[in-house]
Subunit: 204 residues, 2 copies
DNA sequence: GAGTAAACCGAACGGTCGGTCGGTTCCAGG
DNA sequence: CCTGGAACCGACCGACCGTTCGGTTTACTC
């Protein structure tokens, strides 16, 4: 929240990152296009022109925000890739891990992932973010496909379709999850998603 | 696409509804706030000022769009309500029907539901749409909760959480589904979602 | 306390926004 | 052929957009 410069103590001044935190919160509330620099200034408690002391402009705030989410997601996928090669049965574990970790990151980086998932593609920067996101989706779908090939998934579900649905469920968490004491933890949600996805809702 | 006035035949003129179709498509591509009246005019092949001959303004196009989705969803829920009372085992069927029908409507009214799901709440009209949507979510969650009380759902999943996740998966379909020959039909998707939700991904 | 650089501000810029207004074109009914 | 209304257009409006710029305040060093 508050941001000090280096070791010394100015009262409360902004760094690009601490300003980003405020900006992303407003973006998620009003939508990127629906947010004016005046809105950001008001939320940050400084004037419009002061924002330009910290960042180049509105678009930089968007790029920084979505890249933070993309970097976190990519790092998690890299970790899962190092697990290979795996015996057939292990491919199911990898998908399970992918789902679980995806929910965890989504919750850890909630505002940034939320922003990413809502990018529309009106500018070049937004299209670049969408492209990076599609690459992530492709890697996730790859895990599911390999599990299907290994024969550890139900055969009556198209792996591509299943992948879209599963990670659609994962991503939908940003629409309602809010952290806080007495609420669900990240692991609560991650484990609920994982169980639901793999074993379904029906009592057996 | 083309719109005739009543019984007679002008070449291609717009009605409020046929203009809405164009507008909603553009809204979904660029986002509501990211769409200018000039954008709409270009897409419709008429000038900005001509749009105001058919509708009051930009906000009316939004309201008409989201209400079309809301009315369709509500009508479907009303049909499910008339099924009661049901024996315990039937409560599972009701949830299954709710999921299946939700996907069907989402696909049938894809552009309008897409628009609805992206409404942010910046204006009074948008907040009204959000309120109507929350009411629908509540009714759907009610079905899940009754099934849980009837003991036909897994006991280790919080019904509220499960409901959010299931309908999060349902709603995520708007992010990627596109109709067309040689692609998945609405029922393909609806049945995949239903099977996945109730029986999971794991091979048995 | 003078000097410095970061942090911030007020006023203004050109441009675009949603919306208005006074027409003109088109076409069916008489 | 004339008329009336629906459909449409070009020009324009005030407001607000993201951004810029010259200047002031603040906090810290020497």
């Amino acid at each position: 929240m508050s941001a000090q410069t280096g070791a010394s103590s100015r009262r409360t001044t902004y760094t690009p990152d601490s300003l980003l935190e405020v900006a992303v919160a407003v973006f998620n509330e009003r939508g990127y296009d629906g947010t004016s620099m005046e809105d950001l200034a008001r939320a940050a408690g400084i004037t419009k022109s002061s924002i330009y002391h910290h960042v180049k402009g509105k678009e930089e705030l968007l790029t920084r925000g979505v890249n933070r989410a993309l970097d976190a997601l990519n790092a998690s996928l890299d970790a899962l890739d190092t697990l290979e090669p795996l015996p057939d049965a292990g491919e199911l574990d990898r998908v399970e891990q992918a789902v679980f970790r995806a929910v965890q990151i989504l919750v850890e980086e909630l505002p940034y992932v939320t922003l990413l998932l809502r990018v529309r593609g009106n500018t070049e920067a937004e299209r670049a973010a969408q492209a990076r996101r599609r690459e992530i989706d492709r890697r996730l779908a790859g895990f599911v496909e390999r599990a299907a090939t290994a024969g550890v998934l139900r055969a009556d579900l198209d792996p591509h379709l299943a992948s879209r649905l599963v990670f659609g469920m994962v991503n939908s968490v940003v629409e309602w999850y809010r952290p806080g004491p007495g609420r669900w933890s990240a692991d609560d949600v991650a484990s609920a998603v994982t169980h639901l996805v793999f074993d379904g809702l029906r009592r057996r």
